[in-house]
């Protein structure tokens, strides 16, 4: 198995600094965040430009080129509801370090993002939900199958290019669903599929000092179940150390005394 794929989530228009930078097309704050995340261990960087209904095409092209040209064609995850913007981003994307990821499709309104990924030889994050939170794993699996069929119809390689998102749920409020999510990851893994997701959902609304503990424990348990990637804040040191250690224990990376430093 390859190493766990850490997708850095910090280039997100929800952050005021990034929002402003995107409005003004100012590369400095974006490149700074990119560098912090790469230095901390991110493999992919998520680029969330928001709905970007007006200038999405132009903005995504600019973001992709700005980040890739500065950081040796770092692979990116293109994250927006604006499909044209994703296509535009892919049109200028350099694949030498990895395919672009379309973030994301689901079994509902966003199912066409699977077609988009297939048409552009991209990876797609396939969220196993339709409208709202699936009630149980049977429902998750039903959505997974729907998206799988769609992807295969479009000629995608489902074990490589469809990364299923089990939909991580907040512990505070949905504590009784946590093991379901882990069990679903195990099912995906047993079927040979890759998986990813917004991990930090689990610790939403918990105290700041608790979040890294819950996130890193969740990722360790999920990696045991077969999770192959997560969208996280790579600057959370405890989390990254946990991921690196789990990669060693899973034999996804070769041990060396300095493994936490690389």
């Amino acid at each position: 198995m390859g190493r766990f794929v850490i997708i850095g989530e910090r280039i997100h228009c929800i952050s005021p600094v990034i929002r402003k930078a995107m409005e003004e097309m100012d590369p400095v704050p974006i490149l700074k965040r990119a560098k912090e995340q790469l230095d901390a261990g991110a493999t992919y960087l998520d680029v969330n430009i928001g709905p970007a209904e007006k200038n999405g095409v132009e903005l995504m092209k600019w973001a992709v080129q700005t980040i890739q040209s500065e950081f040796d064609n770092v692979p990116l995850c293109l994250d927006t509801a604006n499909r044209k913007a994703i296509e535009a981003g892919i049109s200028v994307y350099n694949r030498s370090k990895g395919k672009p990821i379309v973030n994301s499709a689901d079994a509902g309104d966003r199912i066409e993002n699977i077609d988009l990924a297939a048409a552009n030889d991209a990876i797609v994050i396939a969220l196993c939900s339709k409208a709202g939170v699936p009630s149980d794993n049977d429902e998750r699996m039903m959505y997974c199958q729907e998206m799988l069929e769609r992807g295969m119809e479009q000629g995608m390689d489902p074990t490589e290019d469809m990364w299923f998102d089990p939909l991580f749920l907040v512990i505070k409020g949905m504590q009784d669903k946590q093991m379901d999510v882990l069990e679903f990851i195990k099912q995906l893994s047993d079927m040979g599929f890759k998986s990813t997701g917004g991990l930090s959902n689990v610790s939403n609304m918990t105290p700041k000092e608790i979040r890294p503990i819950l996130d890193s424990t969740t990722v360790a348990m999920a990696m045991y179940c077969g999770l192959t990637s997560a969208i996280v804040n790579p600057c959370d040191r405890r989390l990254i150390e946990t991921i690196k250690s789990a990669d060693i224990i899973k034999n996804n990376a070769l041990y060396a005394d300095s493994f936490l430093e690389i």
Partner: protein, 313 residues
């Protein structure tokens, strides 16, 4: 459904490291497929072959070697002949005479020998130390200086002396070094990490992950090479993407099959043929495992392995 063959070409690749200068410079590494998997993709650079000579010359107890080098007077002439063996890509000067427990040649004496060798050849030069940590550090420091501009590869930087060797050879004189570990994958990676943490760029070092003659614990070398190459390509482990250089001759010519005389064991046949067989079989094995360069001694072995490489890569 028809069988659809998918070439296994990785997005990761082995680093490229250039040794020597000018037309005869050699690029090691560059692969993005498993070794010899030409059905998956063409190798970017062929496996390079080095010919080993010593500060005292060559091993004249082997008739074929003595015959090949006959008439070559002095280390410069020997080096030139070594470089002219068909299939040879670079010359390796082993300074075993510098060993304090042996001849204990001085650093200055070795520097003069190395300069003469470098002056006599136009192909890349690789310098092997005497395996004494303290002496090798001194030797490499001096030789890096006197061979400045030649883009020489120093074999080896070990756990005990990598800092000194890397600082002197790479940082001060832009030469190349080889990180040596003895059939220990974790140490192989760790040493690369430590060297990279000094700020040494990937284009400046290769690695020697250990060697053993076929039949002498070679299975450990095989599994080490396999694991290293799989980590480098399949897991995209940047700390194991260094090209691999494997000193074959020193192992192959020191096992009993290559040492015992024909008088002692007549049923084994001529010693020289056994030595060549050991050298060729070991070299072919490490190439199959992923070595990007091998160091050989006998002209016949060099020719044989060169033919193998030409046919398979």
């Amino acid at each position: 459904m028809a069988f659809k063959r998918t070439p296994q070409v990785f997005s990761a690749s082995i680093n490229e490291v250039v040794i020597g200068t000018g037309d005869k410079a050699v690029t090691l590494g560059g692969a993005n497929t498993f070794p010899l998997y030409t059905f998956d993709g063409k190798a970017k650079n062929k496996v390079a072959i080095g010919v080993e000579i010593f500060d005292h010359g060559v091993d004249t107890s082997v008739p074929g070697i003595a015959e090949y080098y006959s008439g070559a007077e002095g280390i410069g002439a020997i080096a030139k002949k070594a470089s002219q063996i068909p299939g040879a890509d670079f010359v390796v000067l082993s300074l075993e005479g510098a060993d304090p427990n042996g001849e204990n040649k001085s650093v200055e004496e070795c520097a003069a020998i190395a300069k003469e060798v470098a002056g006599a050849i136009d192909c890349p030069l690789v310098i092997e130390g005497c395996k004494n940590i303290e002496k090798d550090s001194q030797l490499f420091e001096k030789l890096a200086e006197v061979l400045a501009g030649k883009n020489v590869l120093f074999v080896s930087a070990r756990e005990e002396d990598y800092k000194r060797v890397a600082a002197a050879a790479v940082m001060a004189y832009k030469q190349k070094i080889s990180a040596e570990s003895a059939v220990d994958i974790n140490l192989a990676k760790q040493l690369n990490v430590l060297i990279s943490q000094m700020g040494i760029q990937p284009q400046s070092y290769v690695m020697n992950v250990g060697s053993a003659a076929a039949g002498y614990g070679y299975e450990y070398v095989a599994s080490t090479l396999d694991r290293v190459r799989s980590a480098a390509l399949e897991q995209n482990d940047a700390m194991l993407q260094m090209p691999i250089i494997t000193p074959v001759a020193s192992e192959a010519w020191s096992v009993k099959e290559a040492i015992v005389s024909e008088e002692d064991v007549p049923e084994w046949g001529p010693r020289e043929e056994r030595g060549i067989a050991m050298e060729v079989s070991t070299a072919a094995s490490v190439i199959a495992g992923g070595a990007d360069a091998v160091i050989l001694r006998h002209p016949k072995s060099v020719e044989t392995i060169a033919r193998l490489v030409a046919a398979l890569m």
